[in-house]
């Protein structure tokens, strides 16, 4: 019997289970396949901070959310349409997010007394009527997987482990996706474990066929390919994109890439990723601590490499002193801060935008440097290149802010041609004639003169230097002049970056001003609000220091300015202080990104329904 196919525009699914259930893997596979089908997509993995929380416990729940669509989308979705819950704990933790009337696919086999107790359920939710507002599809996933694999010579444990692939197969059927991408992946992944490969393949196909034959499902859904700009695409996470952006910048500039870093969640993957690219002459130095990480990068920059250091909040704090050194020696250096929930160790696996003021002011002395921020996972690629361009052109440290949400989330990246990307050509000083270490060009940048160049031997360091000559100077007037020059140099970058663009018109009644990863949620909220007739404009800051030249003009055009941030108001403070502009704040500090609805509701609140319907 052929089943009806229903076309839908977009779907949000969430896979949730115990940390040991392989949910991240299931989610990633679904994502890969969805990407190849040509949907626009956005993902959000969410896993516990503990590596192995007790099995079945509430703190051990691991989830992976994926939003896919036949039109352009910007976020992994506010609330899932479908929840795949592998155990009671996963159901309990994720149910509050599910859309009213949403579908729950549950593994009934795991709803035994022990697991119910671990999940702190007093009665079985599958039986007590508490799920009556949802479309519950109970399936004995474990049993069916065991049945499928009964003839295989594998341990019970190994067989049981395949149940996530059974579930994945079922979801592939439900959303009309091909299973061959995952079959192929299994073949390479388990090349050396043929039985495991076979078992997972069988489970996957059995899940798919179950969808086809069972009476439980009468409809399957279809999400057509999205109309995205023409080109070749790949799926990419923010951390991957950051890493590839730097390798690309290294190719563009002809400079050797040097990463000095110390592992920290959620930044470590940049280190992992870059460690793979030895054939690009990339140096990844896993240092003994973050201070050594940045210090080695400063040494490498002095020696002529494109030097970066990657970290997250606590590590960023440790780098402050050295960052001042890079700044006063006026060497190019990029610090990537993948922000996470703080303070201190805070919420290591959760996202936050609360290091903005640290990036601005987290150093002693007058120490301005360039700060830019990525707005989406794929944008991390471009921002890594941009950070490299600014650092080398202006001989300055650049802080690139991303965050846990961008780092772990993924979306399609249209792969640009190499030629499309900005030029980052770098010239080392080689001519000894008239050379001084702190000579300046029209941008106020000093020459990059690297060891190994005859005739340019010179000494630099953290002590204040005589302008131009670079010798140590304690002269009060010289110090003040140098402070001003270093500031002016950073301010000059404003002439070399795009103006702030406004999505909207001068007559809109509210301007949303944002930075970083809130971009996606704001864009979707904006679209919804406009559909409702609200007159809202949006401007997104990619460049935070210096701000774009025209920021004041933009702010002056609007009476009402709303700044949504995942902190208690850091950009708001800067805008108020710098431009004496009163702003409305929307702040969230829960370790989670904004939901579209939260921003939408704030818009409605601010505009008070005056121009909506």
């Amino acid at each position: 019997m052929a089943k009806a196919s229903k076309i839908v525009e977009d779907v949000t699914v969430r896979f949730a289970g115990d940390s040991g259930d392989g949910m991240q893997l299931t989610g990633t596979q679904f994502t890969e396949t969805t990407a190849i089908v040509g949907n626009d997509l956005s993902t959000l993995p969410d896993f516990p901070a503990e590596i192995r929380a007790p099995a079945g416990s509430l703190s051990g729940v691991s989830g992976f959310q994926l939003h896919f669509s036949s039109s352009e989308i910007q976020t992994p979705g506010d609330s899932p349409d479908v929840l795949v819950a592998m155990n009671p704990a996963a159901l309990k933790v994720n149910l509050p997010d599910l859309k009213p009337g949403g579908t729950i696919i549950v593994n009934t086999d795991s709803f035994d007394d022990k697991n119910l107790r671990l999940a702190k359920y007093n009665s079985n939710p599958l039986e007590d009527g508490s799920l009556s507002n949802y479309n519950v599809i109970p399936i004995p996933l474990t049993q069916m997987t065991m049945e499928t694999l009964k003839d295989m010579e594998l341990s019970v444990k190994d067989k049981e482990k395949c149940k996530n692939f059974f579930a994945l197969g079922l979801m592939y059927w439900m959303y009309n996706r091909p299973i061959d991408v995952t079959l192929k992946w299994l073949e390479t992944k388990f090349k050396n474990k043929p039985e495991i490969m076979e078992a997972n393949k069988k489970a996957l196909m059995a899940g798919y066929n179950f969808g086809e034959t069972t009476e439980i499902f009468t409809t399957r859904f279809e999400v057509k390919a999205a109309e995205l700009p023409k080109g070749k695409y790949r799926n990419i996470s923010g951390n991957e994109a950051t890493a590839l952006g730097f390798v690309t910048a290294s190719l563009k500039s002809g400079l050797k890439l040097f990463l000095g870093s110390y592992p920290i969640t959620p930044a470590s993957e940049i280190l992992h990723e870059l460690s793979k690219y030895k054939e690009f002459d990339v140096v990844t130095f896993q240092a003994e601590d973050e201070i050594a990480g940045i210090s080695s990068a400063i040494g490498a920059s002095f020696a002529g490499a494109l030097a970066i250091t990657t970290t997250s909040g606590p590590g960023f704090s440790l780098k402050s002193e050295a960052l001042g050194l890079a700044l006063i020696t006026e060497l190019p250096l990029i610090v990537v801060d993948v922000q996470r929930g703080g303070p201190s160790t805070g919420l290591p696996t959760k996202t936050e935008q609360a290091d903005l003021l640290q990036a601005f002011f987290g150093r002693h002395g007058e120490a301005p440097l360039a700060i830019i921020a990525a707005k989406s996972p794929a944008d991390c690629f471009y921002m890594a290149i941009e950070a490299s361009r600014i650092a080398t052109k202006y001989m300055t440290p650049v802080v690139l802010l991303t965050d846990g949400y961008l780092a772990m989330g993924s979306e399609p990246l249209r792969i640009p041609d190499f030629e499309e990307l900005p030029d980052i050509s770098v010239k080392f000083r080689t001519d000894p004639e008239g050379f001084y270490p702190y000579l300046r060009d029209e941008k106020l940048s000093r020459p990059w003169a690297i060891p190994g160049t005859p005739g340019l031997e010179h000494r630099i360091g953290g002590l204040e230097k005589q302008n131009i000559y670079g010798s140590i100077s304690y002269d009060p007037d010289n110090h003040e002049e140098m402070v001003k020059i270093r500031k002016q140099k950073i301010d000059n970058i404003a002439n070399d970056i795009p103006e702030l663009k406004v999505d909207g018109s001068d007559t809109d009644e509210l301007l949303i001003l944002s930075w970083g990863s809130t971009y996606g949620a704001i864009k979707e909220a904006l679209r919804n609000a406009r559909k409702q007739g609200y007159k809202v404009a949006h401007a997104h800051l990619t460049y935070l220091n210096p701000f774009p030249r025209n920021i004041k003009d933009v702010l002056d055009k609007y009476e009402k300015v709303l700044i949504p941030e995942l902190n208690t108001g850091q950009l708001a403070l800067l805008i108020k202080g710098r431009f004496l502009k009163d702003v409305i704040q929307l702040n969230k500090v829960k370790g989670r990104p904004f939901k579209v609805a939260e921003i939408e509701n704030k818009i409605y609140e601010v505009l008070g329904g005056t121009n909506g319907n």
């Binding site: 790949r234 054939e279 140096v283 210090s295 400063i298 002529g304 000494r459």
Partner: protein, 344 residues
């Protein structure tokens, strides 16, 4: 980056390595001697001037790079080894030296010091040990002896000192030598040996700070006493010291004992013969412990020199290996290494 062929190396003199910056240490500071010996021996370091980089942390001693007419980087307190590591890894053709104080490298920079030793980075660390914090005006340092009275320890320190030779040895340094500011010839020899060593080399220099810790090494430098307090280490030679070469050191199991070579019971043949290249670190460690023991002379010279692959060499070998397997990297390979799809 291309570097000039060494065969065309100019004939340098000490003057070529002297910068035009006024040297501003206190009169009588041992740092002057270290600077003079480095400048004197630099022509023998086997490297072009432009390929030599001096990196330092913070402290009196860390002003060193300014006075050398080579590339120089004056860093932040304690981090010189880490900065030097980046310089060397980014361009292995450079000869990288670190000038650091005992406070700089063993206190705030202790972590970087031991890890540089462990990794066998090909950098040379000249450790100026004056057993005091000079620049901050006289607080005890991690090498100050227990009970030391200083500005920050008016009743004497209650903490135990570090022994740089033990620390370097235990951390895996492949070269450790000790010398004294008042022994120019000896110091020159040590510096040249360090320059020639492939791998991490530590040269500890006992340096007098006449302002805050005058005479810390007086018994070792005083004409009348030094022969009884200093033990010159020479490869293949028995450990003999004393004014008339009348004392020797014998190993009794793992216990070093001083023997009288004139007592009729002992002769030079009983003495421990120094082997710099001993691959077993045990004896090196015993030597390192001498300064912690009463009645033992202070060894001066190369304690140990062993050969291990250096970090930078291994790193770049790995790069070459990966290139031979994968071919040189290019942009399209980078971006298309995963599943991709077309949007028409």
């Amino acid at each position: 980056m291309e570097t000039k062929n060494l065969e065309t190396k100019p004939k340098y003199t000490a003057k070529d390595f002297s910068s035009d910056v006024d040297v501003k240490w206190c009169p009588g500071c041992g740092d002057y001697s270290i600077l003079a010996q480095v400048q004197r021996t630099s022509p023998d370091f086997g490297e072009l001037k432009e390929n030599i980089v001096w990196v330092s942390g913070i402290g009196c001693s860390s002003r060193f790079p300014y006075y050398m007419n080579t590339y120089g980087f004056h860093g932040i307190h304690g981090r010189a080894a880490a900065i030097a590591t980046g310089v060397k890894l980014a361009n292995p053709k450079l000869q990288v030296w670190v000038a650091t104080g005992d406070g700089d490298s063993l206190s705030i920079g202790g972590n970087h010091f031991i890890h540089a030793c462990r990794k066998n980075m090909d950098i040379k660390i000249v450790l100026f040990n004056n057993k005091i914090y000079g620049l901050t005006k006289g607080q005890y340092s991690p090498t100050s002896e227990k009970g030391k009275i200083t500005k920050s320890s008016p009743y004497g320190t209650v903490d135990f000192p570090f022994n740089a030779s033990k620390l370097a040895d235990a951390a895996g340094a492949t070269f450790f030598a000790r010398t004294i500011d008042r022994e120019p010839k000896h110091m020159q020899e040590m510096l040249k040996r360090a320059a020639a060593h492939k791998g991490l080399a530590v040269v500890e220099v006992y340096q007098n700070c006449p302002i805050f810790n005058d005479g810390a090494y007086a018994p070792l430098t005083d004409k009348t006493s030094k022969e009884d307090y200093v033990l010159y280490l020479e490869h293949g030679k028995p450990l003999v010291f004393g004014k008339n070469k009348d004392k020797g050191i014998k190993l009794d199991g793992l216990q070093p004992v001083v023997i009288d070579l004139n007592d009729g019971k002992h002769s030079v043949d009983d003495c421990w013969v120094h082997d710099e290249f001993d691959t077993d670190p045990t004896r090196g460690f015993i030597l390192a412990r001498f300064i912690d023991m009463d009645h033992m002379p202070t060894p001066i010279g190369v304690f140990r020199q062993v050969h291990k692959p250096t970090y930078d060499e291994e790193y770049w070998n790995q790069v070459e290996y990966v290139k031979s397997k994968k071919g040189a990297g290019d942009y399209n390979k980078l971006m298309y290494s995963v599943n991709t799809w077309d949007v028409e």
